[in-house]
Amino acid sequence: MVDFDVCVVGSGAGGGPVALTLAEAGFSVLVLEKGPWLTENDFYKDEIACCRRNTYSRNLREEFHVVEKRNKGKGWTAKPTYDGGRDFWNGNMVGGSSNLMSGFFHRLKPKDFRLLSEFGPIDGANVADWPIAYDDLEPYYAKVEREVGISGRVVDHPNLEPRSTNDYPYPPTAEHPVAAWFDDLCRRKELHSIPVARAILSRPANGRSSCQYSGYCGSYGCSSGAKGSSRAALLNRAVASGNCEIRPNCHVYHLESDTSGRVLSANYYDANGVVQKVRADLFVVACQAVETSRLLLLSRGPSHPNGLANRHDQVGKNLIFSGGGAGTGTFLYDDLDPEKAAQLKIRGPFVNRALQDWYYIDNDEMGKTKGGTIEFLFRHPNPTGRAIQQKWESDRLLWGHPLKNKLHRYFTSAGYLRFETFADWLPNENCNVTLDTALRDKWNAPVARIRVGKHPHDLKISRYLARKGYQMLTDLGADTVSWGVSSNPPGNLMAGGCRFGNDPEKSVLDQNCRAHDVENLYVTDGSFMPTGGSVPHTWTIYANAFRVADKMLLELGGEKVGLSGERN
């Protein structure tokens, strides 16, 4: 006897599509989410709550990670995240980090599904082809456009992915005048300016308002519901079906399995800290890459002595992020003609432009290799974050009138355009999740220990792309451009750890994202990805979760009709 047909652990981009698909098909679905259930009524443009304090993540004294970074002696230095540095929580709430994303949406390209075959092995990297092809995922990319709500405009360019529809279901969001500067420059340079699709509604739909162009988007929860978070776009509808229950503030600490290896129950602490168990036929784990691997490793059982789905010691391996660099161009208003200066001061609409002319590279300098995407955007408008960067002059602390003069000049004399590059973060043996042997969270469970080793190839690609970005901003008229590449992982762009594949000894999940050795366990967040593409992962996570939901539906016997449990 089970409590629900399906239990989904985690409510972000991996959990939402499964909950919606199965609930609308008539199955009873429970979603367990460790964070609170915030709504549009809780999201305001408040830098303190959003970005200066840990409102949307865990108390780092109670729940944290241990991060291992390469030190100068070529060894590894481990440091808990409560002790400084960036944390790896990205939005613990119903809808997960999709509430806070910018929603720059790109599909992977066909060659991304067969990186090993197309570009060959790279020493020190554990590159693998995907067990599915782009064509398997294309219908679901299209489904995400409709279900999550993606706005944009398809333009032809050499690296455009094959599409089953001509254009996006929603027209582009309002474009900033700077987008036209960018288009003009691209025409002159014979590059292909790509209008970036956004998971943001440009007109109202499904009870959600369209974008209000407040100028604050990424890192902020959306006050209008236009942003296509798992919560706003999917879970609200799943709940409305009458078949989906969401339990917020519930922390799953163990998936209990029997001697046959099946998962019996999700064991969790409820909002009052009381232990609860829920039984289901199928279990879905979608806690974001690091915590998904951690939960499986913590979930030892009689048939899974090393953790659930970890018979071949693959859980936590091949963790990936998105490799990248960034740069900021300073455009002094006095050096622009007045019309352009006035345009640059406009706040609200989006630049929404990217270049993928170097998504694949084949030249004397680099040889034949995978490149990436360069995204162009305004510098984030958060004023305190920007002000803080002004307090140092080299390594000397400024104050008094010199500081104030610098601050005033910074804020009032120039506009700032940025680029961010996205390249593969090659999976390698030094990027993984394990359980820390010493430190435990407030629930007395070992915390995740994240080793964040980066392959030097990624830095080379990132540098190549960043130089292109630098040149673009310079050619657009920037007075100065500062840029760099980093070997630090962007914690908000994580994937892998439970790679899918056809070989159970080298992967955790089969091609349908079911655990090789646990017949009723699926993983539907970004953990499945063997490689990440050279774009943000979210669209692909959404699409794959819809794909897996359809596979689960088949396993459950198709849609339930009526209340009798009869299935067609």
Binding site: Y44, D46, R52, N54, G215, A326, N382, R396, L397
Partner: protein
């Protein structure tokens, strides 16, 4: 989301191996409700009168009023700082760092000038702070942290007590986002 937005890290400025924790610990968990009654002109409920005077003088030196620009007093920096380090969700280590720093500043002032910080001449303050920032690790971190809180007072939503009448936003021609937070949906209440 852009990966470049940094949070105020709650331990980044923790001073290691510094002086023993001061009385702040005993004052931790001050009722946030009391903050609502405060204005920048009136009572401080966490800082002692002496601490408050030292903080106010220090903040005004770090962020002085100009002919066309607000100073620390204008932006409510001292009251904001007190709120920021006493709100129940705030980090006790950061709170201790701030309070310990005030004590160290007072000690250093007394040792060198045989008076209290607010009584120093401008150049004396400048020399002392320059020494602390350039020659001592704790001073550098402490002053940097204080500047961060000044920036928060200058540029956060007025609902938190700083930036009264949007004086900071207006000075820097900053356009805030909308909707802005109501009093019942601020940090600590979500």
């Amino acid at each position: 989301m852009p990966p470049s937005i940094s949070r105020l890290d709650r331990r980044k400025f923790l001073l290691r191996g510094g002086a023993a924790v001061a009385a702040a610990t005993a004052l931790a968990g001050l009722p946030f409700a009391l903050r609502k009654e405060m204005t920048k002109e009136t009572s401080f409920v966490f800082f002692s009168s002496q601490q408050q005077q030292a903080i106010a003088a220090l903040q005004e030196h770090l962020f002085p009023k100009g002919p066309d620009s607000p100073g620390a007093t204008d932006i409510g920096a001292a009251a904001y700082l007190e709120w920021a380090i006493t709100v129940p969700e705030s980090d006790p280590d950061t709170r201790n760092t701030i309070v310990n720093g005030i004590g160290r500043l007072q000690d250093a002032t007394m040792e060198r000038f045989d008076t209290v910080f607010p009584e120093l001449e401008f150049m004396q303050k400048e020399q002392l702070l320059r020494y602390l920032a350039d020659e001592t690790r704790w001073g550098r971190l402490w002053l940097s942290l204080l500047l961060t809180y000044i920036f928060e007072a200058l540029l956060s939503d007025p609902v938190y007590g700083g930036n009264p009448d949007q004086v900071g936003w207006r000075w820097l021609e900053h356009q805030p986002g909308f909707p802005r937070p109501p009093t019942d949906k601020t940090y600590g209440k979500l």
